[in-house]
């Protein structure tokens, strides 16, 4: 029989699981996700290695939980930058400190710029978590399509896409002909259906395509920077480079009215 959900037993268990997550996150920030060691996590929280298995099925299971949490954290950052700090997965969590550049409340352009800058900001300030999300997939691990990680990643996509949906709603989104052409390819409209109710708004498939391409543009710059492929050129960070990309990106999608 299961314990009473409010009994001291269940409460201790929840606390231990929180401690485990915190310890594992600290380990990842120190040694990287690929080097996560269950034994070190156990030592850090004063437990025996075997004891962890009362809370976690395996190392892979722990990583899956951390991936989900990281996705949620990233999505929260994006929502805060847009100005939709409510709607976060855990509204009780402390608000992240964002650089002054982001977090605007004016035009759609500002929100688009804000979410783009926030995507880089979270990534460069959480490089190990970024690697956990977007680096090598865990060797033989494939995210179950209906699993928690894809759902959490969906929240990131929704946050990223929100300014795009807003711009489309007000008729200010300019979509290149080549993109709409992709949306009308055989089967693409069907497969992209999950992106059709972005943000609880029905949206044509080419807006979903736009989201994917926009994501890729931001992601490419950030990925090269976080993984150190530009440090020899920009030892102090690639923010100017990234900002330039964001501006041309905005000019292309949102022509000045």
């Amino acid at each position: 029989m299961a314990d009473h959900p409010d009994g001291p037993r269940a409460r201790a268990r929840r606390q231990n699981l929180r401690d485990l997550h915190a310890a594992a996150l600290a380990e990842i920030r120190e040694h990287g996700a690929v080097a996560l060691s269950l034994r070190r996590v156990a030592r850090r929280m004063g437990m025996s290695p075997a004891g962890l298995y009362r809370y976690v099925d395996s190392r892979e299971d722990l990583l899956t939980r951390l991936i989900t949490a990281a996705y949620d954290d990233l999505a929260d950052h994006l929502l805060v930058a847009i100005g939709a700090a409510d709607e976060r997965s855990d509204p009780e969590a402390p608000l992240p400190s964002l650089p002054d550049v982001v977090g605007a409340e004016g035009e759609v352009v500002d929100r688009l710029r804000a979410v783009a800058m926030a995507y880089r900001h979270w990534s460069v300030t959480h490089p190990q978590e970024f690697a956990l999300l977007f680096g090598d997939p865990i060797p033989g691990y494939a995210a179950p399509p209906d699993g928690p990680t894809v759902a959490a990643m969906g929240r990131v996509g929704t946050a990223l896409g929100r300014p795009l949906v807003e711009a489309w709603g007000s008729g200010r989104l300019r979509l290149p002909a080549t993109w709409t052409a992709v949306a009308s390819l055989d089967g693409v409209a069907d497969r992209i259906a999950p992106l059709s109710h972005l943000d609880a708004v029905d949206v044509p498939p080419e807006v979903g395509i736009a989201l994917l391409l926009a994501w890729g543009r931001l992601h490419g710059q950030v990925s090269l920077e976080v993984f150190g492929h530009h440090t020899w050129l920009f030892p102090d960070g690639c923010e100017p480079l990234y900002a330039a990309e964001v501006e041309t990106f905005i000019e292309q999608l949102l022509p000045v009215p």
Copy 2:
């Protein structure tokens, strides 16, 4: 004293090192780079684990060699796609089979499209090597700025940038104002100096900026695809999506004459 460089001793050593590379590459293709095991490599080539250390300093050293080789292989693919099959790092190696789309010999636009498509083609056909190059960096490992890996990565950059340099040379490269603005920021021109003699041609810093941004655009789409973040949307590959991005990218940089 060192052996005679042509004696049977040195010849056997070279052959063993080649075998080691081949075995390690096969292991990476089967199990992924993060799971590379020296003991498995040793078993595969019928050697004892300790014996490998006569040829390689450590697991990290072996990975560095494989990274360099993979960069070279990618650069070769790009050069072949552009049509500059000479100039490869090992002209004796067999030519890669490229899809019909790439490998054009007409306008600059064709070469730009070809190299862009080839970047994705190599990546999706060599996913584990792509992860080796662009996934999580080896924990605690930082590529020495004058090491072999950055030199090999420079070859990739040169190949990618060649159509851009060519377009700039013929005055057909249109650079957004925001990019040239980045190039004139404090210190950027200095830091980007290594990119100034791209392809043995002296080139203004904004062309180097253009190369970095172009690389990022291509890389983002490819990275999301190869690491499986789009499989739930495009289980058969994201080539149409990528092609659309490449076309808008070309339209932006090379306006029709």
